[in-house]
């Protein structure tokens, strides 16, 4: 038989895990539904060490027609989770697009289209050494419904409320 202290610890852990799970589920469900997908034309300007726009807010299912221009030196545009890498040349409308999963697939174009099928927050990063701060040159593409964010908030609050329940439970004499 489990010692009483140990049993209390297990029960406390179960309570906290349950509230974390509940908070996560509530956050997941509460994420606002995105509007209908649409086509967007976006020009991304790169400079040392930032992109304009810094943050792209789009919806799941959107088709993005992306154009790129660099204001200074050669930059890259590596989009996490989308198998897309772009080499952007200074002041040239044409850029080189490739698929990291298929080395040697580079192609020079003036526009590339992607359909955003994955929700969440994805960074686009410079993939061509462009200067001292190159490793930190990045932007964000936030694809709604970004359920991870409200889910994580719900889980964080779940830890707090779970802790409160455990603490309140201990106030009662055994």
């Amino acid at each position: 038989m489990m010692p009483q202290n140990r049993a209390h610890q297990v029960l406390d852990t179960v309570i906290v895990l349950a509230t974390v799970l509940l908070g996560g589920v509530v956050g997941y469900v509460a994420a606002p539904k995105p509007p209908a997908p649409q086509e967007r034309q976006i020009t991304i300007r790169a400079r040392q060490y930032a992109y304009e726009p810094e943050v792209l807010r789009v919806n799941k299912g959107d088709t993005l027609r992306l154009r790129f221009i660099s204001e200074d030196v050669v930059h890259g545009f590596f989009l996490e989770g989308y198998d897309l890498d772009v080499k952007i040349f200074p002041l040239e409308p044409e850029f080189e697009v490739s698929r990291p999963s298929k080395p040697g697939s580079g192609e020079r174009v003036q526009e590339v289209a992607i359909t955003v099928e994955r929700e969440g927050k994805f960074r686009y990063r410079c993939s061509h050494t462009c200067g001292y701060m190159h490793p930190f040159m990045q932007g964000e593409m936030i694809v709604a419904p970004n359920r991870l964010f409200p889910t994580s908030i719900g889980m964080g609050l779940g830890v707090l409320f779970g802790g409160l329940i455990v603490a309140a439970r201990k106030r009662k004499p055994a």
Binding site: S127, G156, G163, A167
Partner: protein
């Protein structure tokens, strides 16, 4: 015999915090690795142990300095930047500190030359028979305990016997982190300066004054080592009490007296033990244990300097997450002042960083503590006890926040490690055939899914630790709950803000 800050801190702990030292670190099971793994004990007991582990690090360090001076000025093409600020940093904060305490101090090359000059020995011990002590000072060197040292061997000023210097030094260093992380020559200047400073201070002050009171890395190691799953302790304090030799502190012919000024019998926290293993050698009773223990076993902050270290580390994690992991170019320009020439922006960034770390975050925390004490009603715990007690949860939380921050640095830029391994100077070498490996982020899209659990675990640990502090300080559970509630809210909101930065 006079000992340094650490022993004094241990003996005075009762004045600032509730439990005695033995209660402080006694919780949970311990497994003595020295008993469990005889080859490990054999290794750390050798006189040449420390030289054997430090010398390779020193050679690497010198290679890094050379690469920084003569190699590529591009950070991600130079081994000093890639190995120190990507690989070493990640291993330090995510592996070494949580699992092996201050094991970095065991192998750190900074004090190598200073300690060599101070001891005039790399391996052997300079010890005398206690009966021959009188008049030995006139021979050569200075006797401290039963060991002979060289240099001035002054005592470190009592007014500076805290980690405040380390706090301010680290914050100053981190103000220039955008330069440090991206310019090999800046890394050379800083790391070179630190090894020079360590050497000079070893010649002026006794023992490891540099490590204990100046080294900026040591400051945060001391804080986060509290969480570590490893500790070195006296196996049986009764044996220490009966021991007439006290070789661990005074030194003997088997080992140097503790360079950190610690008497192992009083050692109740990991903070100021550099794991040099001299006490394992010098203990005449084979009474030292290298224990595995539960995460977060040391739970007492013993001064405001330590609490402020926790605030500074949290502020820096926040600032770095915004500047280095965020999309905002103007902030990168502010931090990257030598290239952007945005002096005004840099000054503003500096003011915000310093004010945030030293005033705003501690202020918010102090307000929460004050509200909690008011809600709790009359109690016996002093304001300082409550403040330090409730500041402790920032230690496990801060560590996990730093791991969450460091994870993308490694996963996204880890392929640079392979590149510079083959071409450490960026000169076009290809030693191992990996110089031309393409920059390949590893599962970058999954990073937020790894960061969220890390932060949740950090929050859970912090709330549990805070609750334990509250019940210890306030006794009555209802009072403890009221007292801790505002701090718990602050801790939770902090984590929610990191969620916003990483996932929102």
């Amino acid at each position: 015999m006079k000992t340094d800050r650490n022993l004094q801190g241990a003996s005075s702990s009762g004045s600032t915090a509730g439990p005695t030292p033995s209660e402080d670190s006694a919780g949970g099971r311990r497994i003595d690795l020295l008993r469990l793994l005889p080859p490990l004990k054999w290794f750390v007991s050798r006189r040449w142990f420390q030289f054997a582990v430090v010398f390779p690090t020193l050679l690497l360090f010198l290679l890094f300095l050379l690469a920084g001076i003569f190699g590529s000025p591009v950070g991600n093409r130079n081994i000093i930047v890639v190995f120190v600020w990507i690989l070493w940093w990640f291993l330090l904060i995510s592996v070494m500190v949580p699992f092996a305490s201050r094991v970095w101090c065991t192998v750190c090359p900074f004090p190598f030359f200073g300690e060599w000059l101070q001891r005039r020995s790399l391996v052997a011990v300079r010890a005398i028979d206690p009966k021959q002590r009188t008049g030995e000072e006139s021979e050569s060197g200075v006797l401290i305990g039963r060991n002979r040292y060289f240099g001035l061997n002054r005592r470190w000023p009592k007014a500076l016997s805290s980690i405040w210097l380390q706090n301010i030094g680290f914050l100053a260093l981190c103000t220039f982190s955008a330069l440090l992380l991206t310019r090999p020559i800046v890394s050379v200047m800083i790391l070179g300066f630190l090894i020079l400073l360590a050497t000079v201070l070893h010649l002026i002050y006794r023992h490891r004054a540099f490590c204990s009171y100046v080294c900026p890395v040591s400051g945060f190691l001391s804080l986060y080592a509290m969480t570590s799953m490893m500790e070195i302790r006296s196996a049986d304090t009764d044996v220490c009490a009966q021991c007439g030799d006290k070789g661990c502190l005074a030194g003997n012919d088997a080992g140097w007296g503790c360079a950190w000024g610690i008497y192992p019998s009083k050692l109740d926290r990991n903070n100021y033990c550099g794991l040099c293993m001299e006490c394992v050698k010098s203990c005449p009773h084979d009474n030292m244990a290298l224990n595995l223990r539960p995460f977060g076993s040391d739970t007492q902050l013993k001064g405001y300097d330590e609490a402020w270290k926790a605030f500074i580390m949290l502020a820096l994690a926040l600032a770095y997450s915004v500047i280095f992991l965020g999309p905002w170019g103007f902030l990168k320009d502010w931090a990257n002042v030598t290239e952007s020439k945005e002096v005004g922006g840099f000054l503003l960034y500096t003011v915000i960083l310093w004010a945030g770390a030293l005033v705003v975050i501690p202020g918010i925390f102090a307000l929460a503590v004050w509200i909690g004490r008011r809600l709790a009603g009359p109690h016996e715990a002093s304001a300082k006890q409550v403040f330090l007690g409730f500041a402790y949860p920032l230690v496990p939380l801060g560590l996990l926040v730093w791991v969450a921050f460091s994870l993308p640095l490694l996963l996204v830029n880890g392929s640079y490690i392979l590149m510079v391994l083959s071409d450490p100077f960026g000169w076009g070498w290809n030693l191992f055939g990996t110089a031309n490996v393409a920059w390949t982020p590893v599962v970058p899209q999954w990073v937020p899914y790894l960061q969220v659990p890390l932060l949740l675990v950090g929050l859970a640990y912090a709330l549990k630790a805070g609750w334990d502090q509250a019940t210890r300080l306030f006794g009555r559970q209802s009072q403890a709950l009221k007292a801790f509630a505002p701090v718990a809210v602050v801790l939770t909101v902090t984590v929610l803000y990191f969620f916003k930065l990483y996932t929102g």
